[in-house]
């Protein structure tokens, strides 16, 4: 089965776009058998990821860590830590809900890893912040480890 890298985020909300930036870097690597997609509505992930394995989702994260901190979480068998809001965005239903709804509907990929990058700012119209830009290489590496079946 094809593996999939999903970048999640809003390109006009500063560091919320980090998932998209990582997805573009991975796409440029032209890895064999890896689909790279960009998504900005988390609930559509349920249909996007159900036929791929493994799947890595890269998203902005807000968890009181230093900006640029990269964290990989394997959510195949555990829930994503979530305080009720989707990281960095203002979506109706966030990534954590998409993961759990997929699990309840039996549509979760056999292996699903979330790579989070801690944000510095998500104000409208801003660019990626310096600490998040500096973390892109490490986020790409974490995503590749996830795609190769390890790293979380």
């Amino acid at each position: 089965m094809t593996s999939m890298l999903i970048g999640l985020g809003n390109p006009q909300r500063g560091d919320d776009a980090v998932g998209l930036a990582v997805a573009r870097r991975v796409a440029a690597l032209e890895l064999p058998d890896v689909d790279v997609v960009e998504v900005d509505d988390p609930i559509s992930l349920i249909d996007t990821w159900c036929d791929a394995d493994p799947v890595v989702v890269v998203d902005a994260m807000s968890s009181r860590q230093p900006p640029g901190t990269v964290r990989a979480i394997d959510v195949t068998d555990q829930s994503l830590p979530d305080d009720g809001r989707s990281a960095g965005g203002s979506h109706a239903l966030g990534l954590a809900t998409a993961v759990e709804l997929s699990r309840a509907l039996g549509r979760l990929p056999a292996r699903l890893v979330v790579v989070g990058v801690e944000v510095h700012g998500v104000s409208t119209g801003s660019e990626l912040s310096a600490p998040v830009r500096a973390a892109l290489d490490s986020a790409v590496s974490a995503a590749r480890r996830g795609l190769e079946g390890g790293g979380a």
Partner: protein
């Protein structure tokens, strides 16, 4: 979170509100058995879109404003296109209007299916949310997601993407889908329409609190059917005015506790936009299938119980699918994908019916097309005052409910509006960025 004060008075609070787009909180204070104070707090960071638009080119608002809301980008694109085309003295030909209407149907399908199945139904069935509901009612959630997916497919074909369409431009589209491509969607849309009819009878069977709202209803009314992509403004008290007069009738006021502006008619009358208003003022424009579904669900000429908005939303879901199929069946491949919209100095207004209600845009352009001023009045900010009024009246007659029950009902009273808090948030200081 709820608190009980040692004095025996109650403060009901839900902080933050779950299952509304963006972030918000509400506060209801009851003293001596009377509702003393009701407020909806908006603490989504202020959005700078209106200021952000100043100095940009006249061609940019459809792409920029689409990012205001992840749920209703088409509404922002359509209202901005209408306003800019009016400022430039251009009106688009009939086939472009129809394709816009088709795209808008896709957004209604996506948005209404999401709200009915994943955000609102859990309230009526006693679940905390969609995930908990899915554990017991997997087939129902699958049905809702399948309807939403049909909307996604329509948005992807016409808009170029399922979310934040990239195919829309001032003057029309970058590329028109072909009749052949559109017909390819037919089977999926037909299945979704059947599922939508089933949705109406499902939600019509829910238990609804006995509650009616007296507020004035406001929506667009158009010669092209149930209102979506344009029209003029009408109300349940007989008001009727052109979109160009919107900002002289609707007065927005800043409320200190909130980043959002509250809108009133003539600066004092609270009003409601959205499915209940559209239905009351346009049910004669529904298709026969949608009208039959409404009658079978027990809806009369108007519905004033906001808790039953889920039924009206389901009727609109039937209509959007029916209308999409009608447009596809009549589609002929001819005419350009867009018309030229040369810049001109002037002011233009545009209003369309977003899933949550009337969305108004106004732009002032310089002769070279530079945007000098932009005003966006989203449906949720128009409904904020009514949400507070509903809460005040609803709580006043239900003080006998348990604390948890009353809190849940209040949250539900807010979710009736499918509020999009992030859209509703304005930044008041509009002059700071002016250069």
């Amino acid at each position: 979170m709820t608190h009980k004060l040692t004095t025996g008075d109650h403060i009901l609070a839900a902080d933050p509100l779950a299952r509304v787009e963006g972030e918000g909180a509400m506060r209801v204070v009851v003293t001596d058995g009377q509702v003393e104070h009701v407020e909806l707090n908006i603490f989504e960071p202020p959005r700078f879109f209106e200021a952000f638009l100043r100095g940009r080119a006249w061609t940019e608002p459809p792409d920029i404003t689409a990012r205001i809301c992840g749920i209703c980008p088409v509404a922002y694109q359509m209202s901005s296109c209408l306003a800019i085309e009016e400022a430039c003295g251009v009106s688009v030909p009939e086939h472009i209007r129809l394709m816009r209407r088709l795209l808008y149907c896709g957004e209604w399908i996506e948005s209404h299916a999401l709200h009915i199945y994943l955000l609102h139904a859990p309230d009526f069935l006693g679940y905390d949310g969609a995930v908990e509901m899915a554990a017991d009612h997997r087939e129902l959630v699958e049905r809702g997601l399948a309807i939403k997916k049909a909307g996604n497919a329509l948005m992807t074909l016409v808009g170029g993407r399922a979310v934040h369409p990239v195919n829309v431009r001032v003057g029309g589209f970058y590329r028109m889908p072909t009749r052949h491509e559109l017909l390819g969607l037919r089977p999926q849309l037909e299945r979704a329409r059947d599922a939508a009819v089933a949705t109406v009878s499902w939600v019509a069977g829910f238990d609804f609190p006995d509650f009616e709202q007296p507020q004035e209803y406001v929506s667009l009314r158009s010669p092209w059917g149930y209102p979506l992509e344009g029209g003029s403004v009408v109300s349940s008290t007989g008001r009727s005015f052109e979109v160009a007069d919107f900002s002289s009738v609707v007065v927005e006021q800043h409320v200190a506790r909130s980043n959002a502006l509250h809108a009133h008619l003539d600066g004092r009358t609270t009003y409601v936009v959205g499915p209940l208003a559209r239905y009351a003022l346009n049910h004669d424009r529904l298709s026969p299938l949608a009208l039959d579904a409404a009658r079978a669900a027990g809806l009369g000429a108007e519905c004033r119980n906001p808790f039953r908005s889920i039924v009206v939303r389901a009727v609109e879901l039937v209509y959007a699918l029916d209308e999409a199929l009608r447009i596809i069946d009549g589609w002929r491949d001819n005419g350009p994908a867009s018309v030229l919209v040369p810049p001109a100095a002037g002011i233009g207004h545009g209003a369309t019916e977003a899933p949550r209600g009337l969305l108004y845009h106004r732009y002032e352009l310089a002769a070279d097309g530079t945007i000098l001023d932009a005003v966006i009045v989203p449906p949720t900010s128009q409904n904020l005052a009514s949400m507070e009024e509903d809460l005040r009246r609803f709580v006043a007659t239900r003080l006998d409910l348990s604390h948890d029950e009353l809190t849940l009902r209040c949250e539900q009273a807010v979710r009736n509006y499918d509020p999009c808090i992030s859209c509703a948030t304005h930044f008041l200081d509009l002059t700071v960025e002016r250069s």
